[in-house]
């Protein structure tokens, strides 16, 4: 009897214990619950002390000299090291300490290794990332970077620092997401750094409209296409003011009649989603003559995905070669946007199209060779091996590489649609004395204009508008990066991959990149609009902003005696030129219908609206609904096509222009009615539809979320009560927006301010996880302290880490 009881007890205890030790037991989404709940190993271990912050001594023989990192009241590290490599080591250590899971998952997502830890559900995504050649691009970049001793030293030191932290961890110390997902961190390698850079290229310069534009031209016919998709917005206010003269002789371009080589048939779907068009940014600098204190001011607010842990990591880094403050990317060394005592710099994205599609002419059904200029060339087959959690065998996927790049799309169901991807970010960088990381080292230690100009020579991709201001009162902006040399219209449509003449003609020489130094108007600025006026001698197309740049330039031209507060206010300005352009046209068309809706209470609020997308306003919500409905009604043809094809839609500014200037245009005719509609009817129908929506505040309408990277709502900040608009300087969208706001006045001592919606820590169990979200929502800034020494009285350190070389 007793034995039976014993065996029963043993079976029950063992069974339950095993069950509680399984990850995702019985198909549930639960982590291994025993381990997860255990206060010794599980999530409780991630409950960071919020009451005490003890100093720590750490010993790393890899360091050349004793160093120190002090953490100020906001938990921002100030690193004091005796060499650049030591500083990189400590930055790697601290990044890993605060953001390890974010680093890990960002790189997995980029190079297609999510399924190793997430299982089947991310398999298709991984497959696509592999087919896009992200890893290949990272390897190509790294090859060159590691050939530069300076670059290699920083990369290796950073990885050593990150790994020093990773190696110190026991499973109980792993960031909570590792525990939830049931996997362990792996060492951080130089390839991870390069892959992170490629993730930025993917986010910022992989936008491509070749296929939807080809489809649109096929469906609409060339003449209507030209009407709906003009390349230049006449109202545009380019980054380089049009008074600038180009002081170079442009390279001659041998014409290859690209126009003929563009596809005239073969409409198809794009192989992958276009990156979000919401990615944009603002930066500007005003010269001392325009400021109240007689010191230049530089501002930057990059608009990236809003997420937790935040994309940025704030840091000060001091070595004998530099003393700089700004924001870094967890996972890579250096400060990307920042300032020192002499100068400040910032970036916005360049919208030039650097990803083109080429249709492949296969030489055989097995697709082992393709034809180019009548000659057969073998493909290079790369077998991608994707490990999948829960599967015994990995998925093997063969990707064919051509002279253009990987054949991303070779769906056997559509044999004619195979296309290769020519993407600048795949390229091995050109031979240079230094590369991406050296760029930031030089900016961090820069003394003034010539250092800024020298630093930019190392930068290739993603191309950025680098803004600059110095204490010596130089201001400048450069549309900087490797940009393909194209003939007119090249890359706007899918190209014929069977002719070598369809290829890019080279690259725009660095000296010919659009730039301006100390323009007469006293400011430089960019907001992702076109780089230049149409007289720039090289052709480029791409995705460009139409409203923020114009508005910012208008405001900066008007402003005098500018203060830091004025600059903050401009970053927080939610007024937009889009309704300023569109609303009078909509109202005028409405009034010409003599509809009684013209006197509707809610329409009256629109008439009195100041185009400001405030959080409480209802007018912005109605405007947005009305505009969207009018656009959808006008381009109703597209909704039919969109079921089977991606078709490029006209830009908003062109729609507004057509409403204003050609209200009788055939595009306004509604396809489903026998009558012939004009813009007036479209506008009226759209208003009726918009008024069906109950009035809501703009914050509610827009619904901005800062989601956790693994979409865990409990780790997110949802439904923020915040205004802003994608086409206003304060470009807060539902999940994109100003991911860092920085204002730096370069006086005797820099007077710098900044904020990002998050915190230093990536740990949801830390008091430093999201403390800046609310101040960010409320438009507050933190003072940024560039300390002279670890004992600088400007901040009261919360705690210090001392990095010793020996016990």
């Amino acid at each position: 009897m007793r034995q039976i009881r014993f065996f029963f007890a043993l079976l029950l205890t063992t069974g339950l214990t095993i069950l509680a030790s399984l990850h995702q037991p019985l198909g549930s989404p639960l982590p291994a619950i025993g381990q997860f709940l255990s206060p010794f190993t599980g999530f409780w271990q991630n409950a960071e002390r919020a009451d005490k912050f003890p100093d720590e001594n750490l010993v790393f023989p890899q360091l050349s000299a004793q160093s120190e990192a002090l953490f100020d009241e906001r938990g921002v590290p100030h690193i004091f090291a005796q060499s650049n490599d030591d500083a990189a080591f400590i930055q790697g250590y601290i990044h890993a300490r605060d953001r390890l899971w974010q680093m890990d998952i960002s790189v997995r997502a980029t190079i297609g290794r999510l399924s190793e830890v997430m299982g089947e559900r991310t398999l298709e995504r991984d497959r696509l990332q592999r087919r896009k050649g992200l890893l290949w691009g990272a390897e190509n970049a790294l090859k060159k970077w590691m050939s530069s001793p300076e670059e290699a030293a920083i990369i290796n030191a950073y990885c050593e620092g990150a790994n020093a932290y990773i190696n110190s961890l026991s499973p109980a110390d792993y960031p909570i997401e590792f525990k939830l997902l049931g996997y362990a961190p792996e060492p951080w390698t130089p390839l991870h750094i390069a892959a992170f850079y490629k993730s930025m290229s993917e986010a910022l310069c992989s936008r491509h409209e070749d296929i939807p534009a080809t489809n649109a031209r096929l469906l609409l016919g060339d003449s209507l296409f030209q009407v709906l998709y003009p390349e230049h917005n006449p109202k545009q206010s380019p980054i380089i003011p049009d008074v600038v003269q180009w002081d170079f002789n442009p390279l001659p371009l041998a014409s290859s009649a690209t126009g003929d080589s563009m596809l005239s048939s073969g409409a198809t779907r794009t192989p992958f989603e276009l990156p979000s068009p919401f990615i944009g940014s603002n930066n500007w600098a005003v010269s001392a003559e325009k400021t109240a204190n007689g010191a230049p001011i530089l501002c930057n607010d990059p608009h990236l995905q809003l997420r937790l842990p935040a994309v940025w990591y704030e840091v000060q880094m001091q070595t004998p070669e530099y003393n700089a403050y700004g924001v870094s990317f967890p996972g890579v060394p250096g400060i990307i946007i920042g300032f020192n005592k002499n100068m400040a710099w910032g970036v916005t994205n360049v919208g030039h199209d650097v990803l083109d599609w080429y249709r492949i002419d296969w030489a055989n059904p097995e697709k082992t060779a393709y034809r180019i200029d009548g000659e057969e060339k073998p493909v290079r087959e790369v077998v991608e091996v994707i490990q999948v959690k829960g599967r015994d065998e990995p998925l093997r996927d063969t990707v064919r590489y051509t002279v253009w790049g990987p054949v991303t799309y070779d769906d056997p169901e559509h044999p004619n649609h195979d296309m290769a991807m020519r993407w600048l970010a795949h390229d091995e960088p050109a031979e240079k004395p230094f590369y991406a990381l050296g760029v930031f080292t030089r900016l961090m230690g820069g003394q003034g204009l010539s250092d800024y100009q020298m630093a930019l020579r190392g930068w290739e991709s993603p191309a950025q508008n680098f803004v600059f201001a110095s204490k010596a009162n130089d201001i400048a902006i450069t549309v900087n990066g490797k940009l393909p040399l194209k003939e007119d219209q090249q890359g706007r449509f899918v190209q014929d991959g069977s002719r070598s003449a369809s290829g890019w003609k080279g690259f725009i020489p660095h000296e010919h990149l659009p730039r301006v130094v100390n323009p007469e108007r006293g400011f430089v600025s960019s907001a992702n609009q076109r780089s230049t006026a149409p007289d720039y001698p090289y052709y480029y197309s791409g995705g460009f902003d139409d409203y923020r740049g114009r508005y910012i330039n208008r405001r900066l031209a008007e402003m005098e005696n500018i203060t830091v507060e004025d600059m903050k206010a401009l970053q927080l300005d939610s007024r937009s030129l889009k309704p300023e352009d569109a609303l009078p046209v909509l109202l005028q068309l409405l009034d010409s219908t003599a509809s009684e809706l013209g006197a509707h209470e809610r329409v009256k609020t629109l008439r009195n609206w100041d185009y400001n997308f405030t959080k409480d306003g209802e007018a912005p919500s109605l405007f947005e609904d009305w505009f969207e409905a009018a656009y959808a009604q006008a381009f109703d043809e597209f909704t039919v096509w969109e079921d089977s094809l991606e078709v490029l839609k006209p830009e908003d500014w062109r729609f507004i222009e057509l409403l204003a200037t050609q209200p009788g245009h055939a595009i306004f005719d509604h396809q489903s009615t026998p009558e012939v509609e004009t813009a007036e009817e479209v506008v009226l129908m759209a208003l009726k539809k918009a008024l069906e929506q109950p009035p809501v505040s703009w914050a509610e309408h827009k619904s901005t979320d800062i989601g956790h990277m693994a979409m865990i709502p409990a780790f997110s900040r949802l439904d923020l009560d915040v205004g802003g608009y994608g086409d206003a300087p304060n470009a807060i969208k539902p999940d994109h927006g100003p991911s860092w706001r920085m204002v730096v006045e370069l006086g005797e001592q820099p007077n710098a301010w900044g904020v990002f919606p998050g915190g230093p820590s990536g740990n949801p169990g830390s008091a430093f996880y999201d403390p800046m979200v609310t101040p960010w929502v409320e438009g507050q800034y933190n003072r940024l302290h560039l300390l002279d020494s670890p004992d600088d009285p400007a901040v009261k350190p919360l705690y210090r880490l001392t990095f010793k070389t020996a016990e």
Binding site: R2, Q3, R5, F6, A9, L37, T41, F715, A767
Partner: protein, 116 residues
């Protein structure tokens, strides 16, 4: 009763030392060993194990939670269906209690010679 209390204390002390180094399931194993060593009968074993596990896991979780101002438990509680931090401490304690009790019970039954 004294034996039960001693077993409880032994689980607390042994767990505090060993649980951070060993897997979580060392808790029922430890409880089983202690029940064996203390020659507990099944009922006192269940009680001693339960109390030991409750205090060990619940107590430690409560301390960590207090030092953290409940920041994390609020978020994890939300993740597990909107329970509050204090309830999460209790659940943690009960989980430890159940497994320690089961272990101790099994251990008490492992001795074939007495107790019935």
């Amino acid at each position: 009763m004294q034996k039960t209390l001693s077993a409880t204390i032994a689980i607390l002390v042994g767990g505090a030392v060993g649980q951070a180094l060993l897997a979580w399931w060392s808790l029922p194993v430890l409880a089983a060993l202690i029940a064996l060593i203390f020659r507990l009968r099944p009922r006192p074993a269940l009680l001693g194990g339960f109390l030991g596990g409750l205090l060990l896991w619940g107590g430690y979780a409560a301390v960590l939670n207090a030092q953290n101002d409940g920041i994390l438990s609020a978020r994890i509680g939300e993740l597990f269906g909107g329970i509050g931090g204090p309830l999460l401490v209790l659940i943690t304690g009960l989980f430890g209690a159940i497994f320690a009790a089961l272990g101790a019970w099994t251990g008490s039954l492992a001795r074939g010679d007495s107790g019935s």
